[in-house]
């Protein structure tokens, strides 16, 4: 037991875990404050102009907004930690259930999107770095800058116009669950995942390139070369392999960003995920759903960062020993 606690990786992870817990607590405060920062009465705003006093009182007491604020805060934290995120202002469904229904669509889009991004970024970034200053490097750099600058929703609409409406190869929008209908799932996911993946791939290409360049300038790469190892071995065993460590971090951050950032792509492709849920909830002022979704996405964001840090500590001893 003592050995486990004193192990550098365990100590490192314990520190990171404590840090994440502090940040998560901050996130909880922000999410709780969200509904209280609304100017005026959130229940009244959510109900619109026509409602009965009974409906108003029922919603107010169901959401706990009639209690003193300190009590509301502690009961919110307590329920949130046990998985109870309240009920939707719109239809009274438990927010946790709504979120769990939407999660698979978003996760599948994010995972396929990040795979496409890696298929683009790894070869392009490595090639670009190994051919630094040549024409192919310049082309890749310009192309990635284009990808970073293009509005994703615009690209999505143009992709729909070309591949769905004009050529008729793929459906314009919609979603099929993977387990019910794998073929339909694949046909529906291609365009939205491509939209997500091209943008993320452009961003990641720049990171892969600079990571490989940084490693290539290290002393051990020069040593490996000077002791007569073949360029191939130096490139792949010494340079690329070590460059993959920082790439791991950026992949994790990108995955987390996609999970919380696919809102507009989900809207364009009518993809029934968390993003479209947040969008609809903001449009209809369904505060408990907004709070729940924001909390879930921020928590996933922290969790992915924690996992990335853990992997990092395992593969790079310098991190855990510092």
């Amino acid at each position: 037991m003592t050995r486990l606690v004193t192990h550098p990786i365990a100590r490192f992870l314990a520190r990171r875990l404590a840090y994440s817990a502090v940040v998560l607590f901050g996130v909880l405060i922000v999410v709780f404050a969200l509904v209280h920062l609304v100017p005026g009465d959130p229940v009244r705003i959510a109900l619109g102009t026509r409602y009965s006093p009974q409906a108003y009182e029922a919603l107010r007491s169901a959401s706990g907004l009639d209690k003193p604020i300190i009590q509301q805060f502690f009961s919110y934290i307590g329920s949130a930690l046990t998985g109870d995120l309240g009920v939707s202002f719109r239809n009274g469904d438990p927010v946790t259930v709504i979120l769990l229904e939407r999660l698979p669509a978003t996760v599948s889009l994010a995972v396929v999107g990040i795979l496409i991004a890696m298929l683009i970024a790894l070869p392009a970034g490595i090639w670009s770095a190994l051919h630094e200053g040549r024409a192919s490097d310049a082309i890749i750099r310009v192309a990635s800058q284009f990808g970073v600058s293009v509005p994703d929703f615009w690209m999505g609409i143009l992709l729909i116009a070309l591949f769905a409406t004009t050529l008729g190869w793929l459906p314009t929008s919609g979603y099929q669950p993977l387990l019910d209908n794998p073929g339909g799932w694949l046909r529906h996911i291609v365009l939205p995942a491509l939209t997500v993946g091209l943008v993320a791939g452009a961003i990641m290409t720049r990171y892969v390139r600079s990571a490989v360049l940084e490693v290539a300038s290290m002393g051990y790469v020069r040593t490996a070369r000077s002791k007569g190892l073949s360029p191939r071995v130096v490139t792949f065993r010494h340079t690329v392999r070590n460059a993959l460590i920082p790439v791991l971090t950026i992949t994790g951050i990108q995955l987390a960003t996609i999970l919380g950032g696919v809102i507009v792509v989900e809207v364009v492709f009518a993809w029934p995920g968390l993003g479209r849920l947040v969008y609809n909830a903001v449009a209809t002022r369904d505060y408990p759903v907004i709070q729940g979704a924001v909390l879930l996405i921020a928590a996933l964001f922290l969790l992915i960062n924690l996992i990335v840090d853990a992997l990092y500590a395992v593969v790079d001893p310098r991190i855990r020993l510092s």
Partner: protein, 292 residues
Amino acid sequence: MTTAETNTRVSSWRLLLGNPVTVVSGAILAVIVIVALTANWIAPYGINDVNVPDALQGPSGAHWFGTDELGRDVFSRVLVATQASLRVAVISVVFAVVVGVTVGVVSGYRGGWLDTIFMRVVDVMFAFPVLLLALAVVAILGPGMTTTILAIGIVYTPIFARVARASTLSVRVEPYVSVSRSMGTGHLYILSRHIVPNIAGPLVVQTSLSLAFAILSEALLSFLGLGIQPPQPSLGRMIFDSQGFVTMAWWMAVFPGAAIFVTVLAFNLLGDGLRDVLDPKQRTMIEARRKQ
């Protein structure tokens, strides 16, 4: 100004002007800014001049970017919408720079418990994906231009706080700062004369990149109907409205999108060029947390 200082500035300018990409992107931005500032005078038609018989006309001499479903001139609307987009981006980034740099510099210079509190707040803000945080602000304040400015400003504030703090920490230990302090110089004087001028490089780079992403964020919020509200035209909303017509009137989608793309690309390329000259080491955090 000392000779050494003058030399650094001259060589920075020479480096900047020696990079063709930076020069071209700077020139494109200058044109975009001039066009945006004069949009109301140079737009050939009124932005809300409905002319149904002329609806959905392709690009022509009379309508360079064609007309939309109500016969409104797309070119005029793109010009005026670009102006609104730049206005939102500039005001929100100025907000982020002023608040973020103040927090970052004070945090880095003073250290101690204030630094801890400020940086934990920044950490919490970083735990939210950018767009989600912006949407949360819109959810609180309701849609509109002012909310959009505030939302984008709040989202980019922590980035400037981190960059300013990191740079302040490295400048604070420079000999000229400790000498100045040992001579009994006041904190405000040290901050304004020694710290801020010496951390300006990374901040200028970050400003250019943030303007690019602020334009994207505004377009995105307006696309979702949460940003600039009709009848004021916005590039994002024009793209949203084009969705029903994209196969028969491609120009309705292509031109507003191209306006966003070119402006964002120019800011990004300028930011890259500036970084090579002013801040070669700084890795920008902003790209990693890009809008989506």
